[in-house]
Amino acid sequence: MKISLGPVLYFWDRKTLLDFYARALETPVDIIYLGEVVCSKRRTLSAADWIDLAADIARCGKQVVLSTLTLIEAESEIGYARNLVERFDGMIEANDYAVLNMARAQGRDICAGSSLNIYNSATLETLAQCGLKRWVPPLEMSGESLQAMLQNMARDSDRNRIETEVFSYGRLPLAHSARCFTARFLNRPKDQCEFRCADYQDGIPLFSQEQQGLFQINGIQTQSFAHCNLIPHWQLLRDAGVDIMRISVSSPGCLQQVTHLKSSMTGNAISIPLAEQDVCNGYWFGEPGMVSLPALQGNL
């Protein structure tokens, strides 16, 4: 299995971003996703900057994928995505069917992001005709369901194989809205947000009235409070037919998780402890996403 680093979901400044990718190059990560996927107003790097960065990273031997917005509403957002798709000739991660359609027309290699709702092999087979090379299952899909799907796909031997990538570590991006919840929390209109989400490098935690951590507010995105962590279960993912495990970016420590996963796969496991209540893996085991099952307990 390969290891990927997902796009940065938060609003980081230029220096933080570039430093982060410089450090990422020193890890054993195989694939790096670049680009803004949450809010079109966040323009730390321009389209040209992302494409330049992609070239720099590719020269270091990592595969680069340019990822795109999850919720596209304005025509300017369409224009931005079209510009990326036309100018970048590598793989595009489509998080909306608008971008999938553009990338298809342009003949690009496509990774279908988790928000494209591919829940069954009939859908995956239909999309295979659009130039799909890779897909990320919906976050809520269980390992059992994924395995059943991949087994049915495998029967079709004539078809070029589509890689399967599973969101394996990090806060789950659970929902996207037209409303900016960071601006709402700060009592500001979205149009005058002053990019205050830059003050929250990991988002803002949201608790129940019993102090149970539930979600993490990140602009228009609502994430899980707990970090999904399938790293201890990587063999289950491998056995289900997963090709790539995605580490989502959160600071600090996500790069450590890349190293940790790689060493687990090569038989030199080092343990990186995480607070038990901050970890979840329920979706993979067919449970509510927030649930955390201990390692080796769940079987497919």
């Binding site: 999850t70 709702n117 092999s121 809520e140 369901s145 996207h176 949201l206 009235q209 996403g289």
Partner: protein
Amino acid sequence: MREMETCGMNTARQIELVCPAGNLPSVKAAVDNGADAVYIGLNNKTNARYFSGLNFSDSSIEKAVQYIRDHGRKVFVAINTYPQEKNWPQWREAVDIGASLGVDALIIADIGVMDYAASRHPHIARHLSVQASATSLEALQFYHEQFGIRRAVLPRVLSLKQVERLAAKSPLELEVFGFGSLCIMAEGRCYLSSYVTGDSPNNCGACSPAHAVRWEESAHTLETRLNNVLIDRFRPDEPAGYPTLCKGRFQVEQHLFHALEEPVSLNALDMLPQLAGAGIAAIKIEGRQRAPAYIAKVARVWRQAIDRHARMGSSYAAQPDWHRTLAELAEGSQTTLGAYHRPWQ
């Protein structure tokens, strides 16, 4: 009941009123109070209102379709959830049932289901469910070109300006929400419910499913819980809402508030002229889970509004008693223009 005069209207066709029904009495309530079309679902996970005691069996759906047809209205069948590998045959069967009934359209979210319907029953119109979350011209074109989608239901995340721009260029008919529960997240891409309960609209046809809900009353408070997670705590004098995650009261830093959204319903009555002017084909009323009396009242108000607008054009104004009626039926007795109105965002 229906006042279908057409004087001075410059839009080619009157906007269609699409009403929900979860059982036969609701079908009658919708039809008798002026729905142009009624949307219904089978009583299984193939539709996004999979609640116990709701929706139609293979046999009761025939009666519903018959009643709607006898009154010259259209019937749509919602097959708007996402099948997983093991239950794919059930979705295929739902499409076949809809086709065998000769319904006017199937409302579909899943691409595999769309592809199946398009290839197996090409003569049955396909509408794109709001759960597919098509929010741009390019996305609409994709579904139109690939699967021959005739109409799309727009998500409740777009502003009126964005809706108008889309409508000006859309290759297919557009349907928008007029009244009912307000999803504040892009529909079909919200996993808040499955994160806490395991069930979501996508995988089970249910948001905040009843089996996970608990109401706990003590001397001074009423607590609502979802799979044991505290969603809200109400004083005796406060109206308690159903525990939906996006409408709970939560703690963010030192503030306790409705961090995502208040309990409130969407009401776009005031925007009817703009929506009609933009060429929107249909207004959708949310709520297959609602009682027949609710559906009757909402349908009646919207029928009057659409007919009045057809007669009066630019001098149309929503009547105060319509707003009162709808507010009484709204979550928390509050209504909002939602994302149609930019400041909401």
